[in-house]
Amino acid sequence: MELAVETTDLTKKYGTLVAVNKLNLKVKSGTIHGFLGPNGAGKTTTIKILVGLLKPDGGRAVVLGEEVQGDNPKARLKIGYMPELPKFPRHLKGWELLDIYGQMYGVPIQERRVRIRRLMEMVGLKGRENDLIGEYSKGMQQRLGIAQALLSEPELVILDEPSLGLDPVGMVEIREIIREVARGGVTVFLSSHLLSEVEQICTHISVIHRGTRLAEGPLREVISKISGSAVLEVEIAEPPDNAIEVIKSLPFISSVLVEGNKLVIETNADEDVRAQISRAITEAGGTIIYMNMKMKSLEEAFMRLIMKAR
């Protein structure tokens, strides 16, 4: 699979502080890739290097096949970027800003008009196009930020904390927009503090801490590697002695805990393994009364990963 973003030993220092430390990232094309890390981990710095706002001190970053080293307009042509809490000139009207930005991307005038109308509607700013941005609320500026990031119909959309400052309804709407954009084959690279949000929309994640990558890959795979993928609670009528042994011998089982008639089974498989476990118990002569599966959350895996790194 082609890579939309690839960094190799990317390094950025602020004086003596190493914000990004030999970071290696791989973002596959067509994925929704979450970029996670605690405060100060180097997420925004990395993103700023990718969009040309900062120049790396070492290593390299390639975005959509273009090397980014500071000011390279060509590399930015196919990228849509929304900064964290974006600020736009207060003296411009919403549509004027999008029209001017569209012109910078070389979008023809008629096409700009169509896109602006569609995007303003999409982000919920329809009817406010002619208002000065200075009169927009923070949430509205955030929505305008999404609209301007999608304006050029980019191949890669980079969103830095897209839900920051939005109300719950706004957050749901933004998630839906991101999914919609990704359905069209666009790669979305987003940083977020909201792990539940990342879990809901991202297919892949990278976790960084102190500027270094801790984990990367498909979301469920990363979670199961760190903390197992799921916990099954199974209640059996009369547990046959050999049932526990049979379950333990299954290749995707991490641990089995017996609490009377109840078994707490931790698995590390990426897929749903309830059918295999149920079959194993039945074949061993057991009768299942109750079964419940709980997937391991990203939050749990994230916390475990970060605590270990500290």
Binding site: Y14, K48, V51, G52, L53, L54, K55, D71, P73, K74, R76, L77, K78, I79, Y81, P83, L85, P86, K87, F88, P89, R90, H91, L92, E96, I100, Y101, Q103, M104, Y105, G106, P108, G145, Q148, S152, E153, E155
Partner: protein, 314 residues
């Protein structure tokens, strides 16, 4: 997906629009324009009012407009200040530089667009002002001579303004702080003006001022066939006064400029004045234009260099 590469002209126009819409909606700029019109109105109306009060008729003066051309140092500086004081630093302070610099447009083109927008804004403002002066001049003093020189006046004042603009842009680009930019610019302006007056009047080193922006050395025009008195009619020879020099040069091509010095503790009677040296007006004018262009080029280059190297941390 096939993507059309944006044309440079198209991108440049986008930045110019971005900046122009800002300039014409800036309260500071609108205020400055209104103040300029108010001052011009006062200049036009005051003699009329005074003469009316003393029942004196207004004599026609066909040279009124051309002799009062040249917008003047303070106004030039203030126009430059309100137009570009936050054009770079303001973007950094408000964070609007982030979405701007992440568009597929080079920083060089962004600067060029901002300079072009400033050029258009100031040209429009000065054209309006001159049209107003011409209409007012004709209404009060009758038909005017040499009105064909008015476009040159606009150009001359533009060049003077661009010297200050490039100074302000460079400070803004280096400090990325609007207040600091404005304060530093005002200090430079005052220092240049006060310094120029002191050096020009009391020392024999007026020549130093030929190479600094602003008011420059004060000299006296010696027009063949006319007597020159050193009490009236001094002409500033700095970059702020290019328009006046252009007009004088066109009207009196063979005029000279004489620099004089006040001799403190000199002769007991009269104003103790000493002629230092004379130069041809043509030389003074072209040197002034060359100095202006040199400052503009060097400072715009400095602005570009600082912008190109700027890293956006916040």
């Amino acid at each position: 997906m096939r993507r059309r590469k944006p044309r440079i002209v198209e991108q440049l126009w986008a930045v110019v629009r971005y900046e122009l819409l800002w300039n014409i909606r800036k309260k500071k700029f609108i205020g400055m324009l209104m103040a300029a019109f108010a001052i011009t109105t006062l200049t036009l109306a005051l003699p009329v009012i005074l003469r009316n009060m003393s029942n004196m008729p207004i004599e026609s003066n066909p040279d009124y407009v051309i002799s009062s051309s040249g917008i003047g140092g303070l106004m030039i500086f203030l126009f430059a200040l309100v137009t570009v004081m936050n054009s770079i630093s303001g973007e950094f302070e408000s964070g609007t530089i982030v979405p701007l610099l992440t568009k597929p447009i080079s920083r060089t083109l962004i600067l060029v667009g901002k300079v072009v927008a400033a050029f258009i804004t100031i040209s429009a403002a000065y054209t309006l002002l001159y049209v107003y002066i011409v209409i007012g001049g004709i209404a009060i003093y009758g038909p005017q001579n040499n009105l064909n020189l008015i476009p040159l006046c606009v150009l001359g004042d533009l060049l003077s303004t661009f010297v200050w603009m490039s100074i302000i842009l460079a400070i803004g680009s280096l400090t990325k702080n609007t207040v600091l930019t404005a304060v530093t610019a005002v200090i430079i302006f005052l220092a240049m003006n006060m310094g120029a007056s002191i050096i020009s009047v009391f020392t024999e080193s007026a020549w130093i001022l030929h190479y600094f922006p602003g008011n420059g050395a004060t000299g006296y025009l010696k027009i063949p066939g006319q007597t020159t008195t050193y009490t009236v009619g001094g002409i500033s020879t700095g970059t702020d006064n290019i328009t006046k020099m252009i007009i004088q040069y066109i009207l009196h091509p063979s005029a000279n400029v004489t620099y004089i010095k006040v001799e403190l503790g000199g002769r007991p009677q009269g104003i103790p004045l000493k002629e230092i040296y004379s130069e041809q007006l043509s030389l003074v004018l072209f040197r002034s234009i060359a100095v202006a262009i040199a400052y503009i080029s060097a400072l715009i280059f400095l602005t570009w260099y600082a912008l190109k190297r700027a890293q956006i941390l916040e």
